[in-house]
């Protein structure tokens, strides 16, 4: 099946209904689109959000990443060099003990990983880091 971007967008409304049924929703966005749908185009500050990644990942399959921003309501993680840039969004509830989360992600190659936080006051923060993904030369 080949879908043009327009068709994908047109499917959007139906897609939401499908997602409610537990079927996969389409996530074919570019980094810019992903940021725009999260921030609504708002300015992004820097300095309040910390993104921790390894400088070099021995394998792109399992790269540990950590985000943290005091006062964040949610934090979105993007892998800008992946075919689909969205990775995960942490939404913090009333019993979140810190505005912090760690996970392990897949990176298709050396690239910039980005995090964007929506703060409780409605402003946005961003942070990014380059992760070099090495390709093991040998050893099966």
């Amino acid at each position: 099946m080949t879908l043009t971007r327009r068709k994908v967008l047109a499917l959007g409304a139906g897609g939401l209904a499908l997602a409610g049924l537990g079927l996969p929703a389409w996530a074919a966005e570019t980094t810019e689109e992903a940021i725009a749908s999260f921030t609504g185009g708002a300015e992004m500050g820097e300095g309040l959000l910390t993104l921790t990644t390894p400088e070099i990942a021995e394998n792109g399959n399992t790269v540990p990443v950590e985000v943290s921003a005091e006062g964040a309501a949610s934090i979105m993680l993007l892998a800008t060099g992946n075919p689909l840039p969205n990775v995960a969004t942490f939404n913090f509830g009333p019993l979140a003990g810190a505005r912090h989360g760690s996970t392990r992600i897949r990176l298709a190659g050396t690239q910039e990983v980005m995090a964007i936080a929506r703060m409780e006051d409605g402003t946005f923060q961003k942070a990014s880091a380059t992760v070099k993904v090495t390709i093991g030369g040998c050893g099966g």
């Binding site: 390894p54 400088e55 070099i56 990942a57 021995e58 394998n59 399959n61 399992t62 790269v63 540990p64 090495t134 390709i135 093991g136 030369g137 040998c138 050893g139 099966g140």
Partner: protein, 276 residues
């Protein structure tokens, strides 16, 4: 020959990204594992032996420090279920006869070993019980069920020093394994020793070469996100030097396993380890 030199020439680069060479492996519960020690006398060309953990990046190393972070434990959990699951015509589970898996403590450290003149590995012992005592099908050597089980049984010996016997009945198998270790094979005309003895600590392309120790098997690899048997790893290394690999579970790899295990005598059993 020329090809192999070219590969290694690329290799001898900086290892700055790895601070791990001085690190120590202490598990979350406080248990400390021996990751470097004096080489056993039969390993003539090394003065010190080191675990493959030492050569991994900080992030990969960290995954092995806490059993919760270690993805291999997903499979250990599966092993626990398999251990209790009835299978085969006799209507028995492992647990029917071996009540506590903890009773296997120490076994992994002595494997492979010679039983009745035959060199047997952990996989052989497990499948022997399945076919001879349970009336069940043997598990595939490197399949998910087998590696889950060998991880569970191996874990019971974690922290114990590897101590395989190489004399007596084991001597001819050990000699055969040693011969294989030093024999050049494949289009690249290389032996295991060319990488894991002559060049450990160096980079080969983007990979940091270790001594090729097997004290941590089965190993969870980031590359394929599953447990890998030692024979599976030998196979991969042979393919990479464009040699036709021996069969998993065959006499050659069993002998090689004994020889490699003996080169690690004194290191802690690390099962289940994490590698890239």
């Amino acid at each position: 020959m020329r090809v192999s030199i070219a590969i290694l020439a690329m290799a001898l680069g900086a290892t700055g990204a790895y601070s791990g060479e001085d690190a120590s492996l202490t598990l979350e519960d406080g248990q400390s594992l021996t990751i470097r020690t004096d080489a056993p006398p039969h390993t003539e060309n090394l003065s010190e032996i080191t675990s493959g953990w030492v050569y991994r990046s900080d992030e990969t190393q960290a995954l092995q420090l806490d059993d919760f972070d270690n993805p291999a434990f997903v499979f250990v959990d599966q092993g626990i279920d398999l251990y209790a699951a009835v299978d085969g015509s006799e209507g028995k589970a492992c647990a029917s006869c071996h009540e506590n898996v903890e009773d296997f403590a120490g076994l992994r450290a002595s494997m492979p070993k010679v039983v009745d003149g035959e060199l047997v590995t952990m996989e052989n012992l497990v499948n022997n019980c399945r076919t001879e005592r349970m009336g069940a099908e043997p598990w595939k050597w490197s399949g998910g069920q087998m590696t889950a089980m060998t991880a569970l049984i191996g874990l019971q010996s974690r922290g114990m020093p590897v101590n395989v016997a190489i004399d007596g009945d084991a001597a001819p198998f050990w000699e055969a394994g040693k011969e294989l270790y030093y024999t050049r094979v494949g289009q690249l005309d290389m032996a295991c020793s060319n990488c894991h003895e002559d060049n450990y600590g160096n980079m080969i392309r983007a990979d940091h070469l270790s001594q090729g120790q097997i004290n941590g098997f089965p190993t969870y690899r980031l590359k394929n996100a599953k447990l890998n048997s030692s024979h599976g790893r030998f196979k991969g290394c042979m393919s990479n030097i464009r040699a036709t690999p021996f069969a998993e579970g065959g006499d050659e790899f069993k002998a090689l396993e004994l020889y490699l295990a003996s080169r690690g005598n004194g290191l802690s059993v690390e099962t289940p380890s994490v590698r890239n």
